[in-house]
């Protein structure tokens, strides 16, 4: 077993077992069972229909587009689509649950078993099982900070469609859990089924965590609710794993309970509202006949899916000879992949490695600069055609790779294209034999002793001469030519 999966406790190593339930808000204009709007951030209770407020006699009618979104997401997670599924009522009393039940799917979800392949930092790939995806209604929002003794209820979110995606307990580290969420997010964003925006609550994660000694059955798990960023996910898992190990090593028992992540402290605590033992009394919603999907429609949705990150990755590897790592970095965010593909259109295929060179530049220089300035790729001052323009200059031997970095900095500042900047700043590479030969002669005559040493066998000095020539020419000499001419000169 790989070391990173193991927590060292006083009694020896513990294995971590993590399963995730991701609640992804479906992108749709109207709610799952009503015609009220779903826009984020509206004034309280202005996007509430009589159905969402659970007024007496109100009935749900399903939004077809939400069903479509769930099917597409199902294909995105390599899952089977169930042509017959059932909506159930999950019964519990809560301030922001107006009907006293949530319409969800329990025994027969719309999407069944699937999986996601996650790439780890060492380049390895792990397949994480997905148990199911089901559609359900979101609850409203309780606001606790407006009054010392009261909570206020806003039902704008009540009835918004959510997809709950449940993983198998296949994850063995916080890093894997983070990779799973990132992968899932890249898929739903690529499909346009969820915006993946965790700060606005469009993606919320419940984490099931337990620990065990290697080879033993699963331990008792705790469920951590409403973790709303990948950073917090990692923190919550680390904290909770250590909490459980300490308890177990002191001879205690883990309670099967629901805990809340406190992002300010980086800790978890039991949820007060979940102290009552829950009994959700699921049963099929008698207001809703079974959801029966037309096979032809489902097939049509499958055919019209956009290219998913995994397929894109394979294509990048095959067509552009990119490494698995580079390809997965490029496809992780839809915007990065689009930038890459847009840039490719302007890249001259002068060199079999041109695309590889572009990818390196994107992952290295562009990402580095974006990170330094905390910018997203959509706001990158170097546009895809400009980046390819720069690579073309390298390919054509007009500048060296080293000078290119300097040109890139200028491009970042000025938003001008490479060619213009090379001319403005006189950075064009010297590829004139006689000019280079003149410098070589000068360098060799200055370093007579070293030339002797080289000739008597100290081969390593060749690099020194190259460096001196380049330095003399302010880096603008064509490095290949310098090499060739020096070799000739030194015999």
């Amino acid at each position: 077993m790989d070391n990173q999966y193991i927590y060292e406790g006083a009694s020896g190593p513990w294995e971590l077992v993590v399963g995730l339930e991701v609640h992804a808000q479906v992108i749709s204009s109207a709610k799952l069972f009503s015609g009220a709007a779903t826009t984020f951030g509206a004034e309280p209770n202005t996007q509430v229909s009589f159905v969402d407020a659970a007024m007496p006699g109100m009935l749900p009618v399903i939004n077809k587009f939400c069903v479509e979104q769930a099917i597409k997401t199902g294909f995105g997670i390599n899952a089977e689509i169930n042509l017959v599924s059932i909506f159930d009522r999950k019964n519990y009393f809560y301030a922001d649950l107006p009907a006293g039940y949530q319409i969800s799917q329990y025994t027969r979800p719309i999407v069944g078993k699937g999986y996601l392949d996650i790439e780890l930092e060492d380049g390895s790939v792990r397949r994480i099982g997905i148990t199911r995806l089901h559609l359900e209604q979101d609850a409203g929002k309780s606001i606790h900070d407006q009054h010392p003794e009261k909570s206020y209820i806003d039902l704008n979110r009540s009835g918004v469609a959510l997809m709950e995606i449940v993983s198998e307990p296949d994850l063995r580290s916080a890093e894997e859990a983070a990779a799973f969420v990132r992968k899932l997010r890249s898929i739903v964003r690529c499909l346009g089924t969820c915006d993946g925006n965790m700060d606005q609550g469009s993606m919320r994660i419940d984490v099931n965590i337990s620990v065990r000694k290697a080879g033993e059955p699963f331990g008792t798990r705790a469920e951590i609710k409403n973790v709303n960023s990948i950073k917090f996910l990692t923190q919550a898992i680390h904290y909770e794993a250590e909490r459980q190990i300490v308890i177990l090593e002191e001879g205690g028992e883990i309670l099967q309970e629901t805990r809340l992540f406190d992002s300010a402290r980086g800790t978890t605590r039991p949820m007060r509202s979940k102290e009552h033992a829950h009994d959700y009394r699921y049963f099929p919603d008698p207001d809703l006949p079974p959801l029966i999907l037309d096979k032809a429609w489902v097939e049509e949705l499958r055919k019209n899916l956009p290219e998913l990150p995994d397929a894109k990755k394979s294509r990048f590897m095959q067509d552009y000879e990119l490494s698995a790592y580079d390809a997965s970095v490029l496809v992780a965010e839809m915007e990065t992949a689009s930038y890459f593909e847009e840039a490719l259109k302007f890249l001259k295929p002068l060199n079999p490695k041109a695309a590889k060179l572009l990818a390196n530049w994107l992952i290295g220089e562009v990402f580095g600069a974006l990170n330094r300035e905390d910018k997203t790729i959509e706001a990158c001052p170097v546009t895809p055609p400009h980046l390819s323009g720069l690579i073309n200059q390298i390919q054509e031997g007009i500048i060296s790779g080293k000078i290119a970095k300097e040109v890139f900095s200028l491009m970042w500042e000025s938003e001008k294209d490479a060619k213009t900047l090379i001319e403005e700043h006189g950075l064009k590479q010297v590829s004139d034999d006689s000019a280079i030969l003149a410098v070589i002669d000068r360098v060799l005559s200055k370093n007579v002793t070293m030339v002797q040493e080289y000739k008597s066998g100290k081969d390593k000095l060749f690099g020194f001469f190259v460096g001196q020539v380049m330095k003399d020419m302010a880096g603008k000499a064509n490095p290949e030519l310098v090499n060739k001419l020096l070799k000739e000169k030194l015999g």
Binding site: S28, S29, A30, S34, G35, A36, A37, E43, P44, N45, T46, Q47, V48, S49, F50, A53, V61, I62, N63, K64, F65, C66, V67, I86, F87, F93, A95, S142, I143, H144, Q146, H147, P148, E149, K150, S151, Y152, I153, D154, L155, L260, M271, R272, S273, H276, D279, R281, P284, P286, L288, P289, P290, L291, I292
Partner: protein
């Protein structure tokens, strides 16, 4: 099957009903009478029967993804016992 008082209390809590001492006894008795009556169902062999969903419509109809309900916050709140800042008000909830 027969319900003891603990079970009746648990069920009442789940249903958010409060049963005072004097109501507990008669309620328990009534519930047990009803359950005893229901227990007749055990006589029926249903091992090969599929549960009935119980409507004359076999498949759920769809609505279009169109906003049909405009802002009607006044109507939503009109019957509420307590309102502040256009929101429903309840005793403080601790999560």
């Amino acid at each position: 099957m027969s319900l003891d008082q603990t079970t009746v209390k648990r069920i009442a809590t789940l249903a958010r009903l409060k049963l005072s001492e004097d109501r507990m006894g008669p309620m328990q008795q009534d519930l047990n009478r009803i359950l005893h009556f229901i227990d007749q169902l055990n006589e029926v062999d249903t091992s090969l029967v599929e549960a009935m969903e119980g409507t004359n419509v076999s498949s759920m109809p769809f609505r279009k993804d169109v906003i049909t309900e405009e802002n009607c916050v006044e109507k939503i709140l009109a019957n509420a016992p307590e309102v502040a800042c256009n929101m429903f008000v309840v005793p403080k909830v601790v999560e």
